[in-house]
Subunit: 208 residues, 2 copies
Amino acid sequence: MKQSVPAATVSRLPIYLRCLKDLSATQETCSSEELAQIAGVNSAQVRKDLSFLGSQGTRGVGYDVEELRRQLRTALGLDTEYAVAIVGAGNLGSALSNYDGFGTWGFEVVALFDTDPTKVGSEVGGHEVLPIDQLETVVTQRSVAIGIVATPAGSAQEVADRLVGAGVRSILNFAPTVLQVDQGVEVRRVDLSTELQILTFHLHTPAG
Amino acid sequence: MKQSVPAATVSRLPIYLRCLKDLSATQETCSSEELAQIAGVNSAQVRKDLSFLGSQGTRGVGYDVEELRRQLRTALGLDTEYAVAIVGAGNLGSALSNYDGFGTWGFEVVALFDTDPTKVGSEVGGHEVLPIDQLETVVTQRSVAIGIVATPAGSAQEVADRLVGAGVRSILNFAPTVLQVDQGVEVRRVDLSTELQILTFHLHTPAG
DNA sequence: TAGATTGTTAATCGATTAACAATC
DNA sequence: TAGATTGTTAATCGATTAACAATC
């Protein structure tokens, strides 16, 4: 793998991996053109993206599907097991706790926190809801690598600060806020209403 | 508003709107620098983005917060009420049905579909779960503008095809698949494992 | 060899941002 | 007027893609 993979490329790697999973059922080899088709991108882009992985396809043949999956998994760091903590056991936090896709990709939900005393102690998605006071302790003890913020907007920043303070360097933020974090902390934002509003922009804008 | 707003700008408009909501509590006017700060972008970018709305700030003063919010809402098409249908009443579909943020932004969930006979007829988030057979009828009758796909990956494409067939032109896809749709249909993809994998890429990649 | 497809270059395209004249 | 801040230009930066030599 070369030094610096462009952000746009990184965000496409998981998509390629997913597409290859489907392909692997039917074929041993695939061309950049095939992969591009199902991933919804240009084939030159596929080849360029894969070249960052030092990937070796075979001219005239294509890429070995299994080999490429292995390379993508390695590049994405999916050979390691990562501990995940979810903060907020409301609708979304509960849905996330019940999500069984974590294990598939080597993520383990090791804690689920909430402030609500009526929720603390109950079990959600196989996880006991812990009081938020234990955040620092648990994050440290379980070496939590990724924090998921599933709180209301009002508490998101404080939660993020505490996660970062406890050593978390990667945050997935479902709260409708832009988190302010130190350089070196990676935040990905997932917001339903933002997505809906982008759709409505195109819906109501005359062509485009 | 000028003819063509760049995609990158469109995706930032909802963020500005959100940030202004917070600001409006404390001040009547804000500079591009302030807005940039809380939105986490460059101030020149804020000014450029807002200029696409035909927005008129006041030199030496900044932007009128309320006026700008109004312009953003109009630009994003939030003056209209949009009917939304959710397909899939599992963990995620249920969480979405319970989400009370839809109303805030002028979205109305008019239907929730599932294939599971044990779910059909039950109530989730104030919505009766309808059998998937009724998809076309309901989409037409209620003029559904936005379809939310919250099914497993295996059924996502078929659901999308049916939504599009019934006239839906905007899809929010939570299933871990890349949907193939006709040109003119807008799809936004929200995928938890993609986001997690992007985080792990940066976690395990030595600096960058 | 002929056909297919990669890996990479170079051209293009689009997005970001520094800089500054305009102006409140 | 002096200070602040916009709106916009032009420079920069980065990402996409057409094209093609290399080669299986």
